[in-house]
Each structure stands twice: as structure tokens, then as C-alpha cells.
Symmetry: C2
Subunit: 151 residues, 2 copies
DNA sequence: ATTAGAATTGGAATGATTCTAAATGGAACG
DNA sequence: CGTTCCATTTAGAATCATTCCAATTCTAAT
């Protein structure tokens, strides 16, 4: 018995919630919410495993697969950003302000750096005519203050 | 019978050669030379597999492990650069001039873009005092000319 | 209550890379 | 010129991060 009308996607409920970000209305299940909250409370650019560990204290039965699913959902909806500084694990970041990443090659720490002045990549690099830019990722590698002081 | 004096590492020979780059003296075995030559002749930022394919036409018995070894040796000695634009395979680049990478999210193509004017990241982003910068990686993501024209 | 779609799960599968232990090859020593 | 030493090379195993998959659970609309 096929239904006569297509069913709309599930809407918000008591256990469910939504978050308006960048004009988009994003559906957050409890797990997605936990993952988002953990990331929003972190400034250290955790990996999926780090996030799993932290979320487990609030939702002990969450699985790694779910953490990946949630991170993917949050990323595609623009609530968080996925960061690739080196090969290996992806890192995640809930800072949506314009910023770049400083990566300490000695201790591995990642620090957000915010713009001191306006920056438009097209002004600095000769891109072929007709190129459309959607986003830029700048990673600055070096030695952080603390590691530099030690050596 | 332990030798009384330590033996120096093997020196250059007829089959062997060296290349002076950035003041460093880098030992190149025939395989390393092939890998370097293939990469130097490529502008498409090939992956390790791509490089294996291309080197095979000149050295049919080379293995993937050797390609990885060579790429690692060449990278640590500064003859080539490893590029991470997304997660997945690393790409390699023999362009040592200052440049950034434009990545087309539609066709996957990677294009080198050279600076139109001088660029110093420290001028644009507030890094913590004491931070030492060794290198910056800028990836510009978007749609290339050809893909933009199609849509 | 029923049902359909979405979310979640554990575990299997995949893909890229790194590791390992054995084989090879050239150079210096005798 | 043969031996020894060590770097290089190799095939295949192991690892690591992630993605896939099929089964189960949940939620919200009928």
C-alpha cells in the first residue's frame, strides 16, 4: 500500500532541535548537538577520535561511525569546518570567523590566527581568468612561542 | 670482528649522482633521479600512484614502496614539496618557486599560482608573540575557468 | 498503533601509507 | 679481485583513518 503523498522529512521535536547558521536552518539530533557542543567548547582542533572521547562522557554509547556521520553533516551544513594540516587525521574547528591556522611542527599544537587587516587572495596571486574562488585555506607552519623558548 | 674505524657512507659513482639544491648536496640514486625527473616534467601535481605509472615506462621494475621512499627522501632534502589539498592521497610538486595551489572542486585539477606582489603572512594575521614561521601553505578552492564556463 | 524515512550502530571493507625483513648492489678495504 | 659493509630496493604484511554496509532503533506523521 504505497502512500498517496510523499512524506516530508522529520521536523523538530522535543529531543530534536535546530540551529540557524548563516541563514540556513540546520536540523540537529541529540548526537549532532553533543558533537557540535563539544567542538564549540574546544579550541584545540580535535580529531574525530578526540571528539569521540569527549562526547562519550555525556553520551557513553555513541559510536565512532556516528561521530563521523555527525561531523560530516555539520561540515556540509556549514556549522563547522574540517581542517587538513598534514596527512593523517582530519581535524575539526567550530570557529566560523575568518581565520587561518598556525601549526607548531614541534608540539603539534594548532592555533587560530585572525586577520589583522583585510585579505583578498586574488590580489596576491595570479589566478587564470575565469577562475571562481569559493574558499581559501591558509596553514602557517613553524614553531610556537613555547617551543621556540625551549630551544 | 668489529671494524676499527667507522665507514663513511657510499659516495657518488657512475650510476649515482648528486644535485646541489638550496645549498644542500643531495645524493640521487638512479631511482631517485627517475622519480625526480618525472615530477619535474609534470605540472599536474601527481600522486604517488601517478608517479609510479610514469616512472614505470623508464624503470619497469620499480615498486610502489620505492616510489614512496624516493618521494620521502626528495621531500626531506627539499627538492620537491608534498601537497595536501584534501584528505586522501598526497600530491607532489617540483615547483620550488613561491606559489600557492588553486584546486578546482569540480574537476579536481590543481594549478600553481604565482605571487603578483610580495606576500608576508605575518602582516595579515595576528600570530602570538614569539612564533617562528617556517613555511606557509595556501590552498585556494573553487571552480576553474573551464568548469565555470560549462555551468 | 503503523509506517516511512532518518539516524545510529558495530563491524567489515577500503585506500593510502608505512613498516619489516630479506635480497641486492656498489664501494672501500684488504 | 674477493670480502664486507651499508644504503637501497623489494614484496608483502601491517597500520591507520575513514567510509561503507546491513541491521536496528528512533521519530514524527498518518
Amino acid at each position: 500500500m504505497p502512500p498517496s503523498t510523499p512524506r516530508a522529512p522529520a521536523k523538530a521535536s522535543g529531543l530534536d532541535c535546530r540551529l540557524a547558521v548563516l541563514g540556513a536552518d540546520v536540523r540537529l539530533t541529540p548526537h549532532r548537538r553533543e558533537v557540535f557542543d563539544v567542538l564549540a567548547a574546544s579550541t584545540d582542533h580535535p580529531t574525530a577520535y578526540d571528539i569521540l572521547d569527549r562526547v562519550k562522557s555525556r553520551a557513553p554509547h555513541i559510536s565512532l561511525a556516528t561521530v563521523y556521520n555527525c561531523l560530516e553533516h555539520l561540515t556540509t551544513h556549514g556549522l563547522i569546518k574540517q581542517v587538513h594540516l598534514e596527512r593523517g587525521q582530519s581535524r575539526y574547528c567550530a570557529n566560523l570567523h575568518e581565520h587561518v591556522h598556525f601549526h607548531c611542527e614541534t608540539c603539534g599544537k594548532v592555533i587560530d590566527a585572525h586577520p589583522a587587516t583585510d585579505f583578498d587572495p586574488a590580489k596576491f596571486w595570479n589566478l587564470p581568468k575565469g577562475t571562481r574562488v569559493t574558499r581559501t585555506d591558509l596553514a602557517i607552519h613553524g614553531t610556537c612561542d613555547a617551543c621556540a623558548a625551549k630551544s
